[in-house]
């Protein structure tokens, strides 16, 4: 059974069906989309369960010729790193559809776009051919553009085109890099595993690696986003509809860091080593800058957006450490951030639906009138600031630990650790203002969360607690892949 193909292209079928539904039944698209997404999630969970946890290599491999002349293949496979992200993206797609239950503007168009987005997201994590990877990588841009541009906030046109051009700018450099890699006399293939093998065996010269790394860096760093390439993110997040924010923060940012782990590190090990100080520097700046700017935000959604910049900095720090602990931590932060920030954006969206404002000054004392919403927001904030026992903790802890044990200048680690404190401060301050205290005018009389809303948060809450307590369960998947990659690139 080509399970990965099924996971990737089932949403495409769903999108086609959704787009062709009769316009006289505006209630149908969401149901059809949810149906497809649930089946997709079921297949993804099946893959997750059937995944051979101890093994290091690629599993569920599918291979077919596509453009034989250039060695472009339809080549899919997953290891422990990708399978977790694949399952996460299937889960968040379901939740994003549920969170959009009240969309009334062009529902068929909307749910078709969400499903096309899902195609690109799962495709990126499964692709083992570089051109195929690029196909999926670019595929996410178009639906996300429309999600922001059509269903976004007041400045949606600006935010959507900025998002598109910014990411396109990064990815065209990745395209040049991947052509350069292919043209290297030793390579002549787009097979990502083979390229990684060649990289590990030292087939690419140091100077060549340097340039290609720079090209890939632009492609991936824009997506993460790493300071100073992050400016599209707050705009996109603030203007995007809730589901768009959830998928953007939950999955699409991870595509960037996944690119570093899957492509830059194993294919260009020498350049990765010599660039690691630079990645660590940008990571430390992103962490502290994101946190500091989050402090100053008066808009709840913008606060979460900047906290994302800060958290993705921990992922970059873990990657830059080039140690098993660091990269395991990086993947753990990727998963945890997907869950927690997804939860944050969902809650902010739910509060906004009721109060029609996201300004912290206007949304005060939520717990007085909506105790469940307030309590869950506090829970998400605690998870986000890295409280031990919740999912945010293990990843950031391991990233810092790995970075501390690596060769990098300890100053970066110390600066990053300050970021943890800052996160605690801005999150608690946010909780103090938004959740606690006297209700402000906009909050008075709002209804608490309904059954559907609580229901769609439950899986995120459960997983946050589960991973927080039993993070070795997550690392059992991730670690073999990380170890074998680091061994291959000679960093261990």
């Amino acid at each position: 059974m080509p399970l990965l193909t099924a996971i990737i292209f089932l949403p495409l079928l769903g999108a086609a069906v959704t787009a062709l539904l009769p316009q006289s039944r505006p209630d149908l698209p969401k149901k059809v989309a949810l149906g497809f997404a649930l089946v997709d999630l079921a297949v993804a969970l099946y893959v997750l369960v059937r995944f051979d946890v101890g093994a290091a290599g690629m599993q569920f491999v599918e291979k077919a010729s596509w453009v034989p002349e250039a060695g472009i293949q339809y080549y899919l496979g997953i290891d422990g790193i990708s399978v977790t992200l694949l399952a996460l993206s299937a889960l968040l797609t379901v939740l994003a559809i549920l969170a959009s239950w009240k969309i009334e503007k062009k529902p068929a168009f909307y749910f078709a776009m969400i499903q096309v987005l899902a195609v690109g997201m799962s495709g990126v994590f499964c692709a083992l051919d570089f051109v195929l990877f690029y196909v999926f990588w670019e595929l996410v841009l178009v639906p996300m553009y429309f999600l922001i541009a059509v269903w976004g906030g007041p400045r949606r046109e600006y935010a959507s085109i900025k998002f598109f051009l910014y990411t396109l700018f990064g990815s065209v450099f990745m395209l040049v890099g991947l052509i350069a890699l292919y043209l290297h006399p030793a390579a002549g293939t787009f097979d990502m595993l083979k390229l990684a093998e060649l990289g590990g065996s030292g087939a690419f010269g140091a100077g060549f690696q340097w340039w290609v790394f720079a090209a890939f860096f632009l492609g991936f760093a824009v997506k993460v986003p790493v300071w100073p390439l992050h400016t599209w993110l707050p705009d996109a997040h603030v203007e995007a509809p809730t589901a768009g924010s959830v998928l953007l923060a939950g999955i699409m940012l991870k595509m960037g860091t996944y690119g570093f782990v899957r492509i830059s590190l194993p294919m260009l090990p020498d350049a990765s080593q010599s660039w690691s100080w630079f990645l660590a520097l940008l990571a430390a700046i992103s962490i502290v800058y994101g946190a500091a700017v989050a402090f100053a935000q008066s808009d709840l959604k913008k606060l979460v957006a900047y906290s994302s910049v800060s958290h993705m900095g921990f992922v970059m720090l873990g990657i830059a450490s080039l140690t098993p602990a660091g990269i395991n931590g990086a993947v753990a932060v990727m998963v945890a951030h997907g869950l927690i920030t997804g939860m944050m954006f969902l809650l902010v969206g739910m509060i906004y639906e009721r109060t029609h404002t996201r300004l912290i000054a206007d949304v005060r004392g939520v717990s007085k009138t909506a105790p469940v919403a307030g309590g869950l927001l506090a829970f998400a904030a605690f998870a986000s600031l890295g409280l031990p026992g919740l999912a945010g903790f293990p990843g950031e802890f391991l990233s810092l630990l790995g970075a501390w044990n690596s060769d990098m200048w300890p100053g970066y680690v110390i600066i990053s650790a300050v970021g943890v404190l800052l996160a605690a401060a801005y999150m608690l301050w946010m909780v103090q203002r938004v959740v606690l205290g006297e209700s402000s005018e906009a909050v008075v009389g709002i209804t608490d969360l309904g059954a559907r809303e609580i229901g769609l948060l439950v899986p995120l809450i459960a997983l946050t607690v589960f991973i927080g307590v039993y993070w070795s369960g997550l690392l059992r998947y991730v670690d073999p892949a990380v170890t074998s990659m680091l061994t291959a690139m000679g960093a261990m």
């Binding site: 596509w66 453009v67 034989p68 002349e69 250039a70 051109v131 690029y134 196909v135 670019e138 595929l139 841009l141 178009v142 429309f146 541009a149 059509v150 949606r156 046109e157 085109i161 598109f164 051009l165 396109l168 700018f169 065209v172 450099f173 395209l175 040049v176 052509i179 350069a180 292919y182 043209l183």
Partner: protein
């Protein structure tokens, strides 16, 4: 083996042109004649696509090989799409006459098809003129429209001038080598004269391809012309011109490597100038004219590499550019030439709006559409052949300006999906034939991308 029957497709297209000329006597009038023309063009394309034989004809004046097959099929097929569309629409709102337009397009198609196969200086020149002459008339098709006539005259004069410059170059080529067959021409040992001859020859083709600095005619000529005429004029002759350029470079580049720098320079100037000039345009015909300049720049970039890969990439991309570009102009011809005329197309005609999105994405180079693979190969060729950093720098410029191009293509998308509904939106009557033409273009844009493998073999990659 080949024989004179190899020219059967050209014969079919010629028959179509003659029938179209006498459209008033046909059952169904103009419309019927255009339909017959479309059918004949499609069957010509089909015959070419199915016929895998290769060889030369007339002592080497015509060469039938993979590239010729690909380009001839492309020219005939696109002409068929254009005629199919025309059979359901008028060429301009106030211009019911269709038969002349159909005949002109078919004649131009013959020129293009022969040009793609020609490997002889005289044949090439004749074919090139045949493919562009009808274009002047198509541009000035509305006899009472002053702007259109001005554009047509400008186009005609500049094109004629560059044609003559080219002819001058060809005379030098003949004079210094004593041969008109490409196979017998060798520029080695001809010294400065050979270089001058090559330069003069290239100028003519650069102008036909609307490459900078010979692009000035394009925006004015297109902005005065009916959009439906622009759809044809800006794409079909260009495909054949690119093929002729490839054949000429095959002959010239090995002996005159300095030409690479000329091509590279023209490429960079065209890409930058075209993309930046397209940004502020509010008339889609002008916008697409400048975008055409930019795309010619991409073509020249690959051409300058002088490798088999570069040539193959040029041939593939010439068609990969022409299909969406032609199709977009057809939609513009239906809706109106101003950017504002596209407002809320998504609400009025969602299927057409999404088709335009597919074409624009292909032009930007979003995978897995034809334009993406085209660019993959276009950029690959100079990187592969680069012995100095300059071609690499040119590729970086190319990818940067292709991000710029997304900026103006998205202005069209913005209009279609986000702009306010205009006060009096034009109501476009439904036409099955035009819709089929649009559908063919969408399928081709996607299929040329996903199903690229057999095409690559054809263009010699």
């Amino acid at each position: 083996m080949v024989g004179y029957w190899q020219l059967l497709p050209e014969g079919l297209v010629l028959t179509g042109a003659l029938i179209a000329l006498f459209g008033e006597f046909m059952p169904g009038g103009d419309r019927g004649a255009v339909r017959i023309g479309a059918a004949l063009a499609f069957s010509a394309a089909l015959i070419i696509a199915l016929d895998g034989s290769s060889g030369t004809l007339f002592g080497g004046m015509l060469t039938f090989d993979g590239p010729a097959r690909f380009i001839r099929a492309g020219v005939a097929g696109l002409t068929g799409v254009w005629l199919l569309w025309l059979s359901g629409r008028d060429i301009a709102p106030d211009e019911p006459r269709r038969r002349d337009a159909a005949a002109l397009a078919l004649l131009s198609a013959i020129g293009g098809m022969v040009l793609a196969a020609s490997t002889d200086l005289i044949t090439m020149y004749m074919a090139l003129e045949l493919s562009t002459m009808p274009a002047y008339v198509l541009v000035g098709y509305r006899r009472r429209d002053v702007a259109g006539l001005e554009g047509a005259l400008k186009y005609f004069l500049l094109s004629l001038l560059t044609s003559l410059i080219m002819l001058y170059g060809l005379s030098f080529l003949y004079g210094s080598t004593g041969a008109t067959l490409f196979a017998d021409i060798s520029l080695s040992g001809t010294g400065a004269l050979g270089l001058i001859a090559a330069l003069l020859t290239i100028v003519g083709l650069l102008a036909k391809l609307s490459a900078a600095p010979f692009h000035f005619w394009a925006p004015d000529a297109y902005a005065g012309a009916p959009a439906s005429a622009v759809a044809f004029v800006s794409t079909v002759p260009k495909i054949a011109g690119a093929a002729a350029m490839v054949r000429l470079m095959h002959v010239m580049l090995p002996d005159e490597p300095q030409l690479q720098w000329i091509l590279l320079l023209a490429a960079v100037v065209s890409m930058v100038l075209g993309n930046l000039s397209a940004l502020p345009q509010s008339d889609i015909r002008r916008l697409m004219a400048y975008s055409g300049v930019a795309h010619t720049g991409y073509l020249l970039l690959a051409l300058s590499s002088g490798t088999q890969y570069g040539y193959g990439a040029v041939l593939y991309y010439a068609v990969a550019y022409a299909v969406p570009s032609l199709a977009i102009m057809l939609v513009v011809a239906e809706e109106g030439p101003a950017l504002a005329d596209m407002a809320q197309l998504a609400a009025r005609r969602p299927a057409v709006a999404w088709s335009v999105v597919v074409w624009l994405m292909s032009l930007i180079g979003i995978p897995p559409l034809a334009g993406f693979f085209g660019k993959l190969y276009l950029f690959r060729a100079p990187l592969e052949a680069a012995s100095t950093p300059w071609p690499v720098a040119a590729v970086v410029v190319a990818v940067l300006v292709s991000v710029v191009s997304a900026g103006y293509y998205f202005r069209v998308i913005r209009q279609m999906f986000l702009a306010d509904e205009p006060d009096s939106p034009c109501v476009v009557p439904n036409s099955v034939a035009s819709n089929i033409a649009v559908g063919i273009a969408v399928v081709a844009t996607i299929a040329m991308g996903i199903g690229i493998a057999p095409l690559l073999e054809l263009v010699g990659l």
